[in-house]
Amino acid sequence: MTVLPFRRKQRAYEARQQGLVLDDDWHRPSVKWGLGTAHVLLLVLLVIVGLGPILWLFKSAITTTQDTIVSPMALFPHGIAWSNLTDAWNNLDVGLYLKNTVVVAIGSWISAIFIATTGAYALSVLQPRFGKVIMAALLTTLFVPAVVLLVPLYVEVVDPPFIHHSFAGNYFAIWLPESANAFNVVLMKRFFDNLPREIFEAARIDGCGPFRLFFNIVIPMSRPILGVVSIFAILASFKDYLWPLLVLGDTNANLQTVAVHLPQIEPFTPLGDFLAALALSALVPIVGFLIFQRGFLRGTGLSGALKG
């Protein structure tokens, strides 16, 4: 009962916090109509562009192949083909590949968060002697596209130094390299940089060592940016194509992800089934995003990393 008014108040306050149009401006007709119209147009545009393709995909996932090809914008001229979905799930093994992808995503997420938080914490809060050098080395990697490193990285993963045991066909071959993402580390570090130093100092005086400081103070204060990096890391593992193809093998149905699977089945699959497979594959990240979007879209995490 109390949640609703509270949320509404929250939002009104938020709206007050920003914007170049003052409350009073809103009462002038030119602003009210001009901006109001612009907002309605924007909403229509965003619905068409942002939601339209997805709705079309879901519609086509249950449309017969023939209908989709002949009249792509019509609504079910020959009825609904639920069989597309079952075909995709069973015959095209989308379910299995989705499960694999989720495993990949969870592992990548954990390792990305682990590396980004510990590394950024060391660089931003503990400030080791060669921090600047390490930071520069991290930034350099942003210029090196992933595709470019495929070969040397692959050679290394199949015959890692010291270990000499191939990681090919093993999810660690994705989880670990995926966490070497300088962007996440930099984002996290910028956020930590903007946390008030005095709180860390207060904690140290209160008796925190570096580990306590990390777990009891820094991590609880970083929830917004953890959300941002989580979304980035999870989306990245749904995105990744070439690397899983290479290290998990293009033939390994027990491991491979949907991103690898879909282009492979595209040539052999009737369009209706294929679009159903696409829809099922897109569903997981979309639903995940809708569940977790609140804090992310409010921008507290990102603006914490952007300011200063």
Binding site: S166, L245, L246, T251
Partner: protein, 438 residues
Amino acid sequence: SASASSSVSISVASLVPGATAAATAQFNNQVKQFEKANPGINVKSVQYDWTAPTFAAELAAKTLPTVFTVPFTDGDSLGDAGQLANLTKYVKTYSWSKDFDKAAIAEGTDAKGQIVAIPEAAYAQGLEYNRNLFANAGLNPNDPPKTWAQVETDAKAIVLHDAQVAGFSVMGANDNTAGWILTTMADAFGGRMEKGIGAKAVATFDNPGAVAALTFDHNLRWNDNAMGTNFNLSWGTSNQAFAAGEIGMFISGSDVYTNMVQGFNIPAGIYGLAALPQQSSGSGASSPGELGGGTLAAVTPFASKAQIAAAVKWINFFYISPLVTKAGAIRNAKSLDDDNQPVGVPTFPIFSQKIYNQDLKWEEPYINVPETAFAPFNKSILKDNLVPEPEAATQAIYGDLDSVVEQVLTNQNANIPALLQAANSAGQASIAQASASS
């Protein structure tokens, strides 16, 4: 007689991923038989599917099995680059090693004359046609075109009857398939894309056959409007479109029927296969021919001597014996038939014609493909002149030719000779690069 004390382990390429449980069981059964016959050899089976983008990397990373297969086009280049084990010594111990078709074994022989890969299957390019569309357009499905001119008239007839389909289609994707089909057609028009072998090979894209083939495509595309709307088809999408009844005629290997059955449940009765029309394009042209290809079994260069020996034994047992021994032939055909997979799809002889015919006879009881579908092909193919794929830098050359085909299909004003000339210098560079690697 290997000393019983020293046992050796090898891994072998098994079926492609997604094979049925029955097929897998059947394969494992064969492994067991082999191990029983060869005590001291342990065989581990690994799913395997050759794809260009990952093959070299997996080879280098030692993630390939000990025994694997590569296409004809790659055998000698890989051998020249030291990426395959030398099998000469081991192959020579088998009697069938003397019976190879010369062209076939050449694909597995490197520049030094060593056998680095063993041919195990071959096919010729053919003209796939849709018997239903032929019948609907008032054409005789049992009398497919024998000349390129007939191909054009039939294509027009098909389109005239049903504007939604392509009368004739060629692969146009930038994944080397466009270049491959162009080379096939050029050969049939009496052209050759390459002369000589190895470092001495010369790209000859600008040949009359290629010009004739491209002119033919251009004509159907822009004048007759008989090639449909999709010019970006590749091997798989062509098969899909054909099985879906969207293509009247197209060119692909004689063995694609298997894929259409396995992948697309092609409706019974629509499939027809003919040999490609053979037609010289006049002065300066070579004799027209059917482009062929195939698969080689090879062994990783990282294998020990004992592993190589065991690997060749496996190759003999699994790949070669069905072709040259009665027991092997029956074992293979029966298991395919049991699994409802096509038996009797035309391939091309790897050994002598005599051995091929003998093999067919052994298989006869299990043949399950419609005879009428393959009759036109079988009737003429043996008369035709079989041409191997360009020897040097094969895939690279196809890649260089891809863009020529795409230009012709997407640009009405494409200047065919100029395009070929430009591609030719790229092709020559590809040859130089490939030879530098050996």
